[in-house]
Symmetry: C2
Subunit: 349 residues, 2 copies
């Protein structure tokens, strides 16, 4: 739908690679003193003084990670940044810079890339991120996005996946499963559209979960909130692949077990009603759905009073000794071993 | 040619994404104290103390940047690293870490990715680079590689594109045009192979230029050599898109003009003979060919004695005032404006 069938659109060929990147990134503002030199040389130059430097990278492929038939390009740009910032926040760090590389076929008009970069730009403005590098190139078929996020933290603030201790509380921010159910709604509408292109769906009832899918927010605010509350998590990870798989990462890296309580998993009412409509188990959606970009962390029990009653946090379980294993305590009180059902892009569809 | 038609090969699906990245990166050694935490958390953690941090990123797409029908996967892995390190060296800095993300269709067997990573591993060993992150994912069609290189330098050692001054000398390392002519030979052999698959070509005469194309080296040694010679370039860039386009970048960023002497452009004898065979002008190849990954830099004239007679360097021209423009002084002494004929991946083939 973004191919250049409209002759008034600008072809990428006219601009060439250098003109294109200048055109797309010319209006980006820089926010950080640590950005010594952004776009325009062989490499960006950054200065973090005595602070630690965080680097995380992600590759997003059309047809695997996103579907342009229901993803507006501006949202895609925004989400691609969020996915990467989320990894930096999951280290309890401050995200400061990104590089963005994007490949599209030369049938994409300039205007499509401008839309994509407007989403990148909005994310950079709202999250105070400097765009410091990257390139645009052509692809043989679909769109490919590669983003590297860079951040900084004082050594003592960093939180790894490996610090959880027995009796620590297991906490999640926000609620889970929304992004996955939003995707189910969008996929269904796509099928309806194929049959009847004139159908005008009313998606008002699904707006929360569709927004969770198309325009998620990375939880910068949670990192700031934890700092203000004086809570230093013992371990942390972001929830990109579903709660179950992330908990298992924490347990493996920290060499511990855990009990997760099914009835504690935070679910938005919209998620519950969509699950009923689609006849899917809502716990399964939260455990394996992915793309929520909430934070999962562990805290010392003594810190519980600091976040008790705070609507941003839900205690969903606790850490145990490793030999007790990692379990889900179901609503009917049976103990089920947690298994990673995180998303495997290599699995046959 | 790397698709999984052999049932003894291991499918990527069996391993899943987490198993796969562990399997492929398990044997990589770390070389740098600055690598606090490599692969295995949400982000890598690096510590550069008071040194500046360099970041550069590149996206390589099958069918656009490489052709697997004549590119061995090990060479491709090696070259993908070189392309990125070259950008860090072009800042007169030390490359220290990389992240590697790769997408392939699930018809690629594990063994193909192992070959690719063996090339990455060799490059990391020889250039003392720590692999600190990245991911593997699936693609709908071809192979996609995204690498981010990270480096460090003391502030006073950094060289930008912007420091060239009138009367500075314009210097290139090594020789030019080899990578482009190597590609022409490989493309011709591919056409021959299509017609007669039993043909066994003798490519001995082309081994230098084929190696320049398939297994280029980033000029870490030149950065070290310049330091040992006490030469601090006034500006520097790596030659990835052809001499002409790189010179224009230096001139534009430094706000100067230049005279480039055609008869000074360093050409290997193999390049000259291949150009005769293919009936291509060798100067044009050096000016617009690209992928040589040599360094182009400017030095104060006073520094000329330090590199005079050194076989690693060729003075190819000098910087002028901006209003004199950027020119090629041809062999017959005519003055031709330099134009960027660097590679534009969006141009129609």
């Amino acid at each position: 739908m973004f191919e250049d069938k409209n002759q008034e659109k600008t072809s990428l060929e006219e601009l060439g690679e250098f003109g294109l990147i200048d055109h797309l990134t010319g209006n980006f503002k820089l926010h950080h003193k640590s950005t010594v030199k952004g776009i325009g040389d062989d490499a960006a130059v950054l200065d973090f003084a005595d602070r630690k430097v965080l680097v995380s990278t992600d590759l997003l492929i059309e047809g695997i990670h996103f579907d342009l038939s229901y993803t507006p390009l501006q949202h895609l740009g925004y989400k691609a940044v969020m996915v990467n910032l989320s990894d930096i926040y999951a280290m309890n760090a401050r995200a400061t810079q990104i590089t963005v590389s994007v490949a599209v076929s030369n049938r994409f008009p300039l205007e499509a890339l401008e839309e994509f970069y407007s989403g990148i730009s909005l994310a950079c403005e709202l999250y105070k991120i400097d765009l410091v590098g990257g390139d645009t190139t052509s692809s043989t078929t679909g769109m490919i996005i590669s983003i590297t996020a860079i951040g900084e933290a004082a050594k003592e603030d960093l939180v790894y996946r490996s610090g959880a201790k027995p009796n620590d509380l297991l906490v999640v921010s926000g609620d889970l499963g929304g992004a996955y159910m939003g995707l189910q709604v969008l996929k269904r509408e796509k099928e309806v559209f194929k049959v009847n292109p004139n159908n005008q769906p009313d998606l008002t009832a699904y707006s929360y979960i569709i927004e969770r899918q198309l325009k998620p927010e990375a939880r910068k605010d949670i990192v700031e909130l934890l700092m203000n509350l004086g809570i230093h998590p013992t371990s942390m990870i972001d929830i990109s692949d579903g709660l179950s798989s992330e908990i298992l990462h924490l347990c493996k890296n920290s060499n511990v077990g855990c009990n997760l309580y099914e009835d504690k998993i935070p679910l938005d009412p919209t998620v519950i009603s969509a699950c009923e409509e689609f006849n899917i188990d809502s716990s399964l959606v939260a455990l394996s759905g992915g793309e929520d970009y909430e934070l999962l962390f562990t805290i010392d029990q003594k810190k519980f009073p600091e976040l008790k009653g705070n609507p941003n946090f839900t205690v969903v379980g606790h850490i145990t000794e490793k030999n007790e294993g990692a379990h889900l305590i179901s609503r009917n009180n049976s103990k089920i071993p947690l298994t990673a059902q995180g998303w495997n892009s290599f699995a046959k569809a």
